[in-house]
Symmetry: C2
Subunit: 104 residues, 2 copies
DNA sequence: GCCTATGATATATAAAAACATATCGCGTTG
DNA sequence: CAACGCGATATGTTTTTATATATCATAGGC
């Protein structure tokens, strides 16, 4: 029974687009064929860990296994960094103190 | 060129042992054969994402792709939770203030 | 000693990923 | 209109995973 891998696929696509890369450019960087990247991003293939690692590397991403209960905290951290990167120099500074609060 | 997948293999083994499960017990919970789990934990196979997801689910782990620059902060979070679980009721409370320091 | 459980290894088979290569329809640009 | 780049799709081949099943050496308990 497959557990959710859709989030991996969409995360890869989102990261590629955030970096302004085309699938062909990512193929050149990662060594994974463009046609395969298309399938991967559509979650149309059960890809190998080595392919995922190659794509993650090319997109400056880290593949992690974390305790499920740490996931909310980790998502907050990541969201904070993403917002910081997006609103560079304009948004509020990242607040470590707020971390344990959690946000809706 | 393979990028590091060893950390995934060792993370899976560590989580299984932390839960006091044998490979056969994990096989029963995840649907992945014990002989395959042995290879996976030895990083002797380039496993499929669906297999990884099944194992992660059985071990209460979440598979995440995060920005590389968020990795140190995330590792701190996870270490804090792990220490908290290990030293439940006896060790010091988890200190958020210490997070940014980082430890060697 | 016997029994049980463990993790590692072996064998054979089926299914699918990975790859190379090509091409398509679509949108944009000049 | 032609050219270009995009993502999606197709084809054929090779390699590898995943599986079932069995067995091994080792360790522990009785």
């Amino acid at each position: 029974m497959p557990y959710e891998t859709e989030h991996i696929a969409s995360r890869l696509k989102e990261a590629r687009q955030d970096k302004g890369l085309s699938q062909r450019e990512l193929a050149a960087r990662s060594g994974v064929p463009q046609s395969h990247i298309s399938k991967i991003e559509a979650n149309a293939v059960d890809l190998r860990l080595s392919s995922l690692a190659a794509l993650a590397h090319a997109l400056d991403l880290e593949l992690l296994l974390i305790p499920r209960k740490a996931a909310p905290a980790v998502h907050s951290i990541v969201r904070g960094l993403t917002a910081q990167a997006a609103g560079k120099g304009s948004g509020p500074a990242y607040n470590l103190d707020d971390e344990e609060d959690g946000d809706g």
